[in-house]
């Protein structure tokens, strides 16, 4: 699971300047942070004034298994995507296999469940079976390609744990919405039950976000991790 921040145009000051146009008008500078910005940003977050957070842009390059990309790309508003295509290129034999320590047992019902670590036997079966099925699927894939079957047909045998890669561009508002849904946190006002693997992606994205927009991130954290 790899996340690179390819480029960004996103600072705390962007939020403050955009917000102040409502009450002051005529501001044209966009690159200095005033003393009052932190308080203003917290107020905007708390009372759910979301639009000032949109004048920002993050472009990430992400490598993740297909089952993660599938969840990721359900985020529509304020997101743009370009993804590696298994119709246009041959996929590499890179598959996700859960590491030791990935909880394997689900306890409870949808909407209120937790995970436990799993037994040694479970871990060995998961690890072994996923490796075996991935390997066999990829051999079949290659065999079909060697027979000159079209990539878009041969790829049908590949499992959802094969890696894909994509660019994802968003603004701070859409990013916070994603982070609020795709991570668990004690600071969160609303429960969320993300799959661990997309959370691993989200955590890396959040590191970039908190580094680029520290005041916005603190306000997000202090207001229940609910996107404004």
């Amino acid at each position: 699971m790899t996340v690179h921040l390819i480029k960004h145009a996103a600072e705390d000051a962007d939020v403050a300047f955009a917000a102040r146009v409502s009450t002051l008008g005529g501001e044209t500078r966009f690159n200095e942070v005033s003393d009052k910005d932190s308080g203003l940003i917290n107020y905007l977050m708390r009372d759910r004034h979301g639009s000032p957070f949109e004048h920002t842009s993050f472009t990430f390059y992400i490598e993740a298994p297909i089952f993660v990309a599938r969840e990721f790309m359900r985020h529509r508003t304020g997101w743009s995507y370009n993804e590696e295509s298994a119709r246009y290129k041959e996929l590499e034999p890179v598959f996700y296999v859960p590491e030791d320590g990935r909880p394997l047992r689900q306890v409870g019902k949808p909407g209120a469940y937790s995970f436990e670590l799993g037994t040694y036997k479970q871990f060995m079966c998961v690890s072994g079976d996923i490796r075996r099925v991935s390997s066999e699927a990829y051999s079949t894939y290659k065999r079909l390609l060697d027979l000159e079957v079209a990539r878009e047909v041969a790829r049908m045998v590949l499992p959802v744990n094969i890696y894909t890669s994509f660019y994802a561009t968003c603004n701070a508002r859409s990013l916070m919405h994603f982070l609020g849904l795709r991570t668990k946190s004690d600071a969160a006002k609303f429960p969320s039950f993300p799959q661990r693997e997309i959370e691993m992606v989200a955590e890396q994205m959040e590191d970039h976000f908190s580094f680029q927009m520290p005041h916005t991130w603190v306000a997000f954290q202090n207001n229940g991790r609910v996107a404004p």
Copy 2:
């Protein structure tokens, strides 16, 4: 590949009434088709006035393999989705296998390729290999579930040709954008190279569309199948 039109609120008259508010104002009836509607709809399509086509709603229930759903859900603007979750339910052993007659050989390069039918050997290999890999993957999936491994982990071995199901709601404008990209047609002004399997879904959706909004469909067809 199954497409049901679950419900709709979409008629040609909706387009005409929405358009006439610009020039007449004050119209409040929305359910009769006047003689001039057909010409108006064609004019709107031709000159790319898209917004009048948005006051319409189609909800489809679709069963398709994951590799089709992946392409489908890249359509963001004007689309809403709810999909069966392999985290919350056990998937059924229903897999897509190309039928005899599905072209298997790709000829040419990205952006300008075509497909040929494939040899008997190719067809037998594709068909046999996809069945075998699907079957082995599903057995492994069930074995992991029997070991009480969480569904969200066990599903990692499943190939992208397993069926999923989802609701998709759109308006006539977003639907035409989808149809223009996901079908090939001699009437199309711009080339498109959809994977055959998503085209099979799109064709069924287009049947529903042309039945519910015949004048709009004709105008779409007569104007190069470019969404306004």
Copy 3:
């Protein structure tokens, strides 16, 4: 301020069916309400699972002054609009004038203010001045039109309290987002300070919403009027 619900395809059952596809799959009926739907809808609202509310459609026809339409059309996601155009038709001399009882004095600062009724003198001035300026502006508008000045130029003199009319189509999720921001309510978890005139529009829209989707409306009300 007039709001007509022109058409709709929106029932509580739509929400429940869309939600159940996640856990059950394969549902294709969309028109019956089960006993458990109410609880499910409340759960979705509470934990902010928004997408099941999107498979619904409301089309409103609204007559309101330009300053209200301006605020209204800032709502982008999940909204479609077609509006009367002062470039294509001559506007009617219909202007908004606050009625007796409309609070006229603002007390407090942005983000935490309230309104008081105003004195008799204030009311007389507001009422008289708005009538006078509207009337003079409209006379000038007509005079310019009589001189064969283009409508798009002549309209520049018209004040923002002149009425416009438009169709607005949304789904239940985007509608709740609008209602949460454009009304004040004791039930609201977050403060909002809508202009009274857009609130008058929103209240009529909410009447339609609560009538068509009563369980969804109750869940919205019981969960702080925060759109999921």
Copy 4:
């Protein structure tokens, strides 16, 4: 009419890199332009592959009359706005008055009309009347404010030619869509009939666009000014 490009993260190279992830995968550099980029960008534009153009961001600060802002903010997809609020601040007495040379007479019907310059008498009337109505409206506005009437009520008398200011953030795809609709051009494949005043804004935005993304602008121009 003022347009400042406040900040941007938008280069031709962004488009090429985003597009190449489909066929190459694994690219992570985003800041160099290769020799083949220009051809690739033209191909993407021609065949309407729009998503690679979305990984870019422009933030404009715009001063324009309300009737222009109204048309501008009808652009929803891929646009973010924050605007000066006449509820929170007192507006300045700055009004738009057409200059000598602004065509004043409309000839023809909706969908196929043109403009002529107008007579001297027409110009004098337009200029004089707009100045007079603006001035009287603003005096009334100030009088109501002096009487301690709330800003949100007093502003109802202001005409739509008063200036407002706002930040607008978009990507190259949404920007091209705007430019295609809001300018006239011999290079355009589809007719458009923008109001001259929004075209004056669009032309300034296009200057910034063509400077920042010259290859993309050329491809836009060469392909009928239709956004991909």
